[in-house]
Homo-oligomer: 281 residues x 2
């Protein structure tokens, strides 16, 4: 999958990168009213809306390739996809042009012409997801679209303790929806941070890993909630990697609390593009 | 306005406070689809929805008294209001009962029986508002309902510097919409903090004061934005309190970026009620 060109991280060959029409898009979307990312007949999807907008600009059918399919209701702050475009528009003009044709719940925040063999999905080195929980007694209203409601106070410390036992390379079969069980259930979770956001008072679970099984982040979140509620012990969590039994892990938390936060690539120029867009100095 | 009973902050007379049926409500609402707080004919308002729900439970017309009218589109995390109820329901059961009848964009997060002369508006000692700005090049999508879009990078440091010149007791005429100019334009702003929220990347302007003129927080936010954009200098900001000229201050920022965060009362039990609801230990 990796070529020399891609491994040349420090000094990408700028001329080569910019010569083609393969274009990367960084997209933000509110997943509430989408049936997920992937295009489907008779359903409103992010890919469907993006391809519609691209086709309006380029006057022909354009196929978009996403870094991942996200489920219905899941949000993304920096989703990455790519497409081959029939002619060149200056990359800095693409976002505004596309946003003119896109609905309010999706927006292209950056576009970049990349080399011809770049692939949003296969070149991704990892992803960070954020799962949000509102643990107030009554249901949330302002943040009801982006946080799941657990009507019992949770302990950030206890959840972080359990999370520390999930970090690492394991057989994550117990953290995978049965319909999505991969041939290889070994995955590496690099980092999990659990914190309470002071303004919204929500619990945020940030999970960084190389790749994920189906529903894995939502089941990790459900397992941390179960530990906080004393429905599971830390020993039970450790045992999940041995018994690999989905029924012994926590519940699959609802989709709307999940947000794809960032996608990682080896290429310095792509990674810095995302920083540039979001983190003004 | 203050009575001995109310000034007795450390040991409120519990029996007296709990004997009546005057009840305080802490409400959260997403202002997006409301024509503000105050009841109006032929418009969907927070007060209207609350009175409808109260009337269903108590089988008669109930009049609600809010701590402030908020404009259409403005959100509230802890709005306080009160009503006199015809009979007693245990206060801990009131939120869930009311929420059954309330739409998803409003929820009662706490109710407390208070003494007969408590008034949500007249007893308030102050309020904290938060104004949110997304200063990314492209419009926000996930947070489009709760953050205003300014498509130019802003400087938190520069905005905080200007804010420090607004803190204090001044004639705030220049920060008041003409239709709302009070007889007395002197107001005290106790605190303004400007920060960048790391996850959402939004700028949050937190303004705490005893009371506010009409549109005052939105004009303060607009003035800080103008300073960051070099459309106003710090000297210009200082001069606003002398020239008292609305046209020389910043724009009135859009309503949807504004959120009433908290209302302050002298009474320890009311203040701790809000802490209890939102800040689990």
């Amino acid at each position: 999958m990796m070529t020399n060109n891609r491994d040349n991280r420090v000094e990408p060959e700028a001329s080569k990168i910019r010569s083609g029409t393969r274009t990367l898009f960084v997209i933000e979307f509110d997943g509430t009213d989408f049936s997920g990312f992937q295009i489907q007949n008779n359903a409103r999807t992010v890919q469907g809306e993006m391809e519609k907008a691209l086709s309006k600009i380029y006057k022909q059918t354009i196929r978009l390739h996403g870094c991942s399919r996200t489920d219905a209701g899941v949000h993304a702050r920096r989703h990455v996809s790519h497409a081959d475009l029939p002619f060149r528009i200056p990359e800095e003009k693409i976002p505004l042009a596309l946003n003119t044709f896109l609905p309010q719940d999706i927006c292209v925040i950056a576009a970049r012409i990349v080399d011809e063999d770049f692939h949003a999905r296969f070149d991704s080195r990892g992803k960070r997801y954020i799962y949000r929980i509102s643990d107030t007694r009554c249901r949330p209203s302002i943040y009801r679209r982006t946080a799941c409601h657990v009507p019992v106070k949770l302990s950030v410390e206890r959840m972080q303790e359990a999370a520390n036992h999930i970090i690492g390379t394991h057989d994550f079969s117990a953290f995978c929806a049965s319909e999505g069980l991969d041939k290889n259930p070994i995955r590496t979770v690099n980092r999990i941070e659990v914190l309470r956001q002071p303004i919204t008072n929500q619990i945020e679970i940030m999970v960084t890993g190389e790749s994920f099984l189906y529903n894995m982040v939502r089941i990790i979140a459900g397992t941390l909630v179960y530990v906080s509620q004393n429905k599971l012990t830390i020993d039970d969590v450790d045992a999940l990697f041995i018994n690999r039994d989905r029924r012994r892990a926590g519940k699959t938390m609802p989709a709307h609390g999940l947000m794809l936060d960032e996608v990682f690539y080896d290429r310095v120029d792509i990674q810095s593009l995302m920083l540039d867009v979001f983190d003004p100095v």
